[in-house]
Amino acid sequence: MGLLTFRGGIHPPHGKKYSEKKAIEKAEEPKIVKIPLSQHIGAPCKPIVEKGDFVKVGQKIGEPLAFVSAPVHSSVSGVVKAVKSEKIAGGMGNCVVIESDGKFEISEEVSSKGTVETLSGKEILAIIKDAGIVGMGGAGFPTHVKLSPPPDKKIDLLILNGAECEPYLTADHRLMLERADDIVYGLKALMKVLDVKKGYIGIENNKPDAIKVMTEAAKGENIVIQPLKTKYPQGAEKQLINAISGREVPSGGLPMEAGAVVNNVATAYAIADAIKTGMPLIKRICTVTGSAIKEPKNLEILVGTDLTEIVNQCGGFKEEPGKILLGGPMMGRATSSIDVPSTKTTSGILAFNRKEAIIEEPSLCIKCGKCVEVCPINLLPVYISANAENGNFEKAEKLNAMDCIECGSCSFVCPSKRRLLEGIRLTKNRIRSKKQK
């Protein structure tokens, strides 16, 4: 089958060689976990345990108060030490602090309610919602919301995202290699929920082994393993839909408006786990990598584990890190410290040495048009950013700044090293705050 792709995009260095051959290892069990009550897009959870309570693995500890939200569960068994504001990635957030008793006693709440064959779509949706499953590609959008389109929106295209177009990250790659059957199981569950007859799994062709293993695992099912051209941002939702079906999600709209739903392969795996064992989402695979990490690994870590412990299990730092990212280098967030807990969306910990951490100072724009050429949305980053820098936000808005998916291709490619995406983000923030007034 031919390689599919989208218009625009860039070819950043892969950086995957550090960890792509490393099999998934279980991280050491943490003695203390700090589980944030907001690990998703949407309303934070209300804590339903108190200091001194004994909790078990998989027990619900945070209850969602809104539809766009997802419950959180304990990843260990032990005593709740506190429910308080703690340092988390990007600031402070309410956490349930639990001291593990080391026994990992599983909660009575955790039990399988059936199989994908015996359960109805509605029942599977309820399991997904109760298991606190969110988009594990990085954004953390509650999965049950994606799977509940309004009745007038008929979904006929279901895609699993195995592109993993972010450089350095190999967590999804390893998951596809090592747990292909469960990914297929998860996709079948999703197909049942949405009543879609055919499912797609899009994988970039720099992972031929994953394409082979997934094809083998999907044999006999109505599932297409679709090789994709290796190009960033191939795994961006709208670009993936476009590559596979040729459809364009309308400007400002959600994928469902193009009849499509996209989920990450890791999300499908979590769904399979929730159906087969009843275990909610309390762990994930995380790639610990980068030039400053002594021994890069793909670790399966429990939610709430302190990231310092994770880095230490990878031999610590080989040299002084200059920048530490949660996620990949294109869209990941820089963190000021790593004594913060992991979450459902910690797909990677990437440590750059000091040299890599420094980004050159911007110089004057030479209007080369490279940002225009690579923009997957066909925007004119050069002019949006220039207008934003001059405080001309209205003009920047007219240039469709709100459609930017913040993939960062423009800033990456700019020979003048201009921070184009920063200008576009500034515009988006201004427009949003203006609309709220």
Binding site: K323, A334, I359, E373, F412, L421
Partner: protein, 308 residues
């Protein structure tokens, strides 16, 4: 230790290509044609090239010093302006022509409008136009190649004449003409290097040369030899590959670039065929430079997912 971590917004990596590397690539692409011009026009060419480059770089440094701006002569852009200006001059010009031209290109066309990235015309071409208008005699005295250079006409005026050079001579560059325009072959080799390095795309040179070739072919009564002769003579290759592709003065989007290059090809054809001047490349590019903002306004790309 942790307080030393850099926190900035994404993306956190950048491509290797810089303004400096792009400009340096352009200079590298022009090296073969430069060496060849010195080989055929000897000291005349060497002196003209050196004077143009040195004056361009010095002018940039002085202006930035006066304006108390960072001095950016190490980015190679003034070197390119000087070199391209020299390429557009006859080898026999008096020494003050490249000097005045380079000062005009850098001081008036580039820095008076805000410096790098702000010039609405190609500085070297605008300077050439200024020189042609001011000193028409000096600017159109061509010499033939060789040690004992004698006065000659540009090949464009020789079509049909018994002195007409062969197409092979034109292609290789063994003819009279502006200093850097004579060898189509070496200019094309440099262009291929720039394509390979991702500095230019085929869009502008392809559309420009293609438009010109098709029009010439049709209006010459399908005369293949004449079309080929027109393609390899004069400043077409120099203009299409190195001047029309100037980032700053051409549109940023592909559709705009196609219209821009079509305009360049059309006007070059009109001037060469019906105009009073033998050569139309520089004026056609300058005219399209001026049209660039309006082309961009009407060719804003349709956004992904936007209304058709």
């Amino acid at each position: 230790m942790e307080s030393k971590l850099i926190v900035s917004s994404s993306p956190h990596i950048r491509s290797n290509q810089t303004v400096k590397s792009i400009m340096r690539d352009v200079v590298i692409a022009l090296v073969p044609a430069t060496l060849y011009s010195v080989y055929i026009f000897r000291m005349n060419a060497l002196l003209t090239i050196l004077l143009a480059i040195i004056t361009a770089v010095a002018t940039e440094a002085v202006i930035q010093k006066i304006r108390k701006k960072p001095i950016t002569i190490s980015d190679w852009s003034a070197v390119i302006t000087g070199l391209l200006l020299a390429f557009n001059l006859p080898a026999s010009v008096p020494w003050w022509i490249p000097v005045i031209g380079a000062i005009f290109a850098i001081a008036i066309v580039k820095h008076a409008f805000g410096g790098l990235g702000q010039n609405f015309m190609n500085p070297a071409l605008a300077a050439r136009a200024f020189l042609v208008a001011s000193w028409p005699v000096e600017m159109t005295s061509w010499i033939s190649p060789g040690v004992d250079a004698v006065s000659t006409a540009t090949p464009l005026t020789l079509w049909g004449d018994k002195m007409q050079p062969s197409i092979m001579d034109l292609f290789i560059g063994n003819v009279g003409g502006s200093l850097g325009e004579t060898s189509a072959l070496l200019l094309i080799i440099g262009g291929i290097y720039l394509l390979y390095r991702g500095v230019i795309k085929i869009t502008i040179p392809g559309m420009y040369i293609g438009t010109f070739a098709i029009l010439t072919f049709i209006f010459s009564g399908f005369d293949f030899t004449f079309t080929l002769y027109s393609l390899v003579s004069g400043g077409l290759m120099l203009g299409a590959i190195y001047m029309a592709t100037d980032y700053v003065s051409s549109p940023v989007n592909t559709k705009g670039q196609l219209i821009f290059a079509f305009g360049c090809g059309l006007i070059t054809f009109v001037i060469r065929t019906y105009g009073g001047m033998a050569e139309g490349v520089s004026f056609s590019i300058l005219l399209m430079n001026v049209a660039t903002p309006i082309i961009e306004r009407y060719t804003t790309p349709k956004i992904f997912g936007g209304a058709k």
